[in-house]
């Protein structure tokens, strides 16, 4: 997995040794997306222009609802949606805040599919406030710190 960083965006790319159709299905079939992302989207579909909602299934985050505004579905090529990143304080209404754009792009590679992920728009999101809210409202900060340590250890 390779990475790059700026304050506005998160970029990742990962090589998946799987056929394009299978990768595509895991992205745009809402239930499959929910399985690996960690949100309960059972019985739901991703439709361009519509919002899909589900509870986070990741331990410690189950009280949070994830809302995805589906923006683009180009079959087997691109999938994009908007959401409120790091909306970790249930007491705060994030709906008036700017969203970030999450884009997946599938590229042909000799060993499978190269999946590119870009989440952009963080420069307009007051993340510092969220980090504070997170620390105050969640017992999961230690867990996150371990995640960050794991992340740093690998890069």
């Amino acid at each position: 997995m390779s990475t790059s960083a700026s304050s506005d965006r998160i970029e990742r790319q990962i090589l998946l040794a799987a056929p394009r159709g299978k990768v595509w299905h895991a992205l745009v079939d809402a239930e499959s997306f929910g399985d690996w992302f960690g949100v309960n989207l059972k019985g739901q579909r991703f439709v361009v222009g519509e919002t899909t909602r589900g509870h986070i299934t990741y331990p410690g985050y189950e009280h949070l609802v994830c809302e995805m505004q589906i923006e683009r579905i180009e079959p087997e090529q691109r999938f994009a949606y908007r959401w409120h990143p790091y909306a970790v304080d249930p007491a705060v209404d994030y709906t008036q805040e700017p969203t970030t754009l999450v884009e997946f792009a599938l590229e042909e590679h000799a060993d499978g599919i190269l999946l590119r992920l870009v989440e952009s728009g963080f420069d307009r999101v007051p993340l510092a406030r969220r980090a504070e809210a997170y620390r105050m409202n969640s017992g999961g900060w230690d867990e996150q710190m371990r995640n960050i340590q794991n992340y740093l250890a690998r890069h």
Binding site: M1, S7, I14, F37, D123, L127, A128
Partner: protein, 109 residues
């Protein structure tokens, strides 16, 4: 009491950063500790009024603070807000890394 959108509670840190002059001011404060307006405008074409305005935007976002030392007002970095934002972004990136690893396991099985 109605819920307050978070962006109304505090000026967005990242919006405050989205300006080259303000980034330059932050860089100067990072390097130079507490500086006066005169020191911050030295060697630049920008007016004291403009710098003061930019510093106020940064202060509203909680990125810098000022203190009077005698008759001079000195500006310095308030590093905690930047660190918080950076930490939040790192946490989001770490969540993506974990999610993409799960996606890999799912499609490669």
């Amino acid at each position: 009491m109605p819920k307050q959108p978070a962006w109304q509670k505090s000026a967005p840190v990242f919006a405050a950063l989205g300006d080259p002059t303000r980034l330059r001011l932050l860089a100067a404060l990072c390097a130079g500790g507490a500086l006066s307006i005169a020191q911050l405008t030295a060697g630049t074409a920008i007016t004291r009024q403009a710098v003061t305005k930019h510093l106020q935007v940064l202060a509203d976002a909680g990125l810098v603070r000022n203190d009077w030392q005698g008759r001079e007002r000195l500006w310095e970095l308030e590093p905690s807000r930047l660190a918080e934002a950076r930490r939040a972004l790192d946490a989001i990136a770490a969540q993506w890394d974990q999610a993409l690893a799960r996606l890999k396991r799912l499609v490669e099985r």
